[in-house]
């Protein structure tokens, strides 16, 4: 079977939340309250029956997931609240999911196969979250700030995950075998930058490319909270499980740069195509991907040399050039693919010539440049309290406080989507995803009829009292205009179910 020329993708971001005086033990409640401040309409409760965090795509179910022992201490005095109460899960009218994930307000974009729409949806998430932070600040009289980052600099990490629709017919072992080379080396453009190092026993690191590299312990597993893997093998399709799997990527950083998001998802889509097409990537298989990602991350301005499985040595740049060269077979698929290829090449060329010349595209380079200038002007070093604080402030999503946004205002960061596109995605689902369109319609117009909702299934209560479960991927092949017409006249659950049945 040929690779997917387009695939649905999404980005989930667990935001950092900071309220002066509150420690980690209080953040679950603070995060829940922030999520709950989202105004109606929205659809809930969430249906957790479709979530299988312990089910491994390799064909087994693990008994339990690893838990961070330090973090677990905060849970010992846990409340008796149900999952739904604690997580405050809700589906928004734009097809996005908003909830409290373990003390982090999480925004999951709706799925789309269009990279510009994905960037706009991710940026829409930033704005929705900032609106909630302002609302909570006004209500409580205490500043609530949110950071789009993945580390507190003190050993706690939280994720920004990508989801990619992928072919079920391709053996999961192929993804596990071939993805680590890309994941370890793409941090040249996906890295959000971080001062210091959070791996025990490692000293002398002033700055590194990736927020997350310190936290990976194994190549593949279903774990996400501890002993994190480079390749997450959780088996949740969120679509037709007989045809499609979801590649759930947990090793990426939260990006504020639109170009970084474009390259992160655009290149990974192309690498997935290479894997699905059975292209031989053995020449870039890394001998030790976990060591490589850390070595690359900890040497942002140089090119560490690391070993390949075949006994040769290489660099992150060479692996990326090799993947780019192989991906050029997809040139001409569509204009967006061509733009990914050209943007990818330009980035690598520029990085090769001068690593900091990519500061207008890579978050890590923007941050490093800013911090270096500040450190020199103020006569402080990278281990000083103020530099650590500026690292956090870089990711603040308040446009009037965050350092990324100061760079944006100064015209020092490239953008790819318009304000109008972002505003639109705050309100409406991507128009290329039937699943998101139906979820959004129900969240906006029929929230009171919802018995439960999840990414691919909504159960509605009809006027008769009967419950009807709608499997959303069944409508993927329906023409957009037919779907729009069906939804337009559906102001009740009964009407919606009848209309969807008629077009399926």
């Amino acid at each position: 079977m040929a690779s997917l020329p387009r695939r649905l993708m999404g980005i989930e971001t667990e935001y950092g939340i900071h309220i002066d005086g509150l420690g980690p033990d209080a953040l679950v409640k603070a995060s829940r309250e922030l999520v709950e401040s989202h105004p109606k309409p929205y659809a809930s409760p969430w249906e957790y029956r479709h979530e299988h965090p312990r089910r491994d795509a390799r064909g087994f179910v693990v008994d339990r997931l690893s838990v961070d022992p330090i973090d677990a201490r905060y849970d010992q005095a846990g409340t008796n609240t149900t999952d739904n109460h604690l997580r405050a899960d809700r589906m928004l009218p734009n097809g996005a999911r908003l909830y409290n994930d373990h003390g982090h307000p999480e925004y999951s974009t709706p799925e789309t196969s269009d990279l510009f729409t994905l960037i706009a949806a991710d940026k829409a998430g930033e704005r929705i979250m900032q609106e909630l932070a302002v609302k909570r600040s006004d209500l409580t009289g205490t500043l609530v700030s949110l950071q789009k980052n993945n580390s507190d600099g003190n050993g706690a990490s939280y994720g920004t995950h990508e989801s990619y629709q992928a072919l079920r017919s391709v053996d999961i072992e192929a993804y596990i075998r071939d993805l680590p080379a890309h994941f370890a080396t793409r941090i040249l453009y996906t890295g959000a930058g971080k001062t210091g190092c959070e791996e025990a026993g490692i000293r002398g690191i002033d700055f590194q490319l990736s927020q997350r590299a310190d936290f990976f312990k194994v190549i593949a597993s279903v774990d996400t909270l501890y002993n994190r893997p480079l390749v997450n093998t959780r088996d949740e399709s969120h679509d037709d499980p007989t045809q499609l799997r979801r590649i759930h990527v947990i090793c990426g950083d939260a990006n504020l740069s639109e170009t970084a998001t474009f390259l992160k998802c655009g290149t990974t889509h192309l690498v997935l195509r290479l894997i699905e097409d059975g292209v031989d990537l053995s020449h870039i298989a890394l001998a030790d991907p976990l060591a490589a990602i850390k070595e690359i991350s900890r040497n942002p301005l140089t090119l560490p040399v690391f070993a390949l499985k075949n006994g040769n040595f290489t660099t992150a740049l060479e692996v990326q050039y090799s993947l780019l060269g192989l991906s050029r077979r997809y040139e001409g698929t569509d204009p967006q693919t061509d733009l990914v290829l050209s943007t990818w090449k330009t980035f690598l060329d520029d990085y090769a010539a001068n690593p900091l010349s990519v500061a207008d595209r890579a978050d890590w380079a923007a941050k490093y440049t800013l911090l270096t200038q500040f450190a020199e002007e103020e006569g402080v070093d990278f281990k000083s309290d103020i530099i650590q604080s500026l690292d956090i402030a870089f990711h603040d999503i308040d446009p009037d406080a965050g350092l990324h946004f100061a760079l944006l205002d100064a015209g020092d960061v490239r953008t790819l989507v318009t304000d109008d596109a972002i505003s639109l995605l705050m309100e409406q689902p991507p128009q290329d995803s039937a699943k998101a369109i139906i979820r959004g319609h129900i969240a906006r117009h029929l929230p009171d009829a919802v018995v439960s909702i999840s990414w691919d299934e909504v159960t509605l209560r009809l006027q008769s009292g009967q419950n009807v479960a709608l499997t959303l991927h069944a409508f993927t092949a329906v023409a957009a205009d037919a779907l729009a017409a069906a939804l337009e006249g559906s102001s009740t659950a009964d009407a919606l179910v009848a209309a969807l049945k008629s077009i399926r």
């Binding site: 667990e14 994930d101 373990h102 053995s282 140089t302 090119l303 060269g325 604080s389």
Partner: protein, 65 residues
């Protein structure tokens, strides 16, 4: 470590695939410090000076996924 090359040669991405990256060892020359233009916006530096220097020390999060 190896130094950055002057720039990638076009054949690097044009070469037939799959192709092995050139075998290399750690005996290559050391890193070079890049020459970089820096942002000059006073507004950004002013915003940076307003950041609470204790933020990093007080910033504690739950471990997540």
């Amino acid at each position: 470590m190896i130094a950055f090359p002057d720039g990638p040669s076009p054949e690097r991405i044009e070469r037939p695939s799959p192709a092995d990256p050139a075998p290399r060892g750690p005996e290559q020359p050391g890193p070079v410090t890049p020459d970089v233009d820096r942002p000059t916006s006073r507004n950004i530096m002013d915003r940076m000076r307003k950041v609470d220097p204790k933020l990093g020390r007080n910033y504690r999060q739950r471990s997540g996924q």
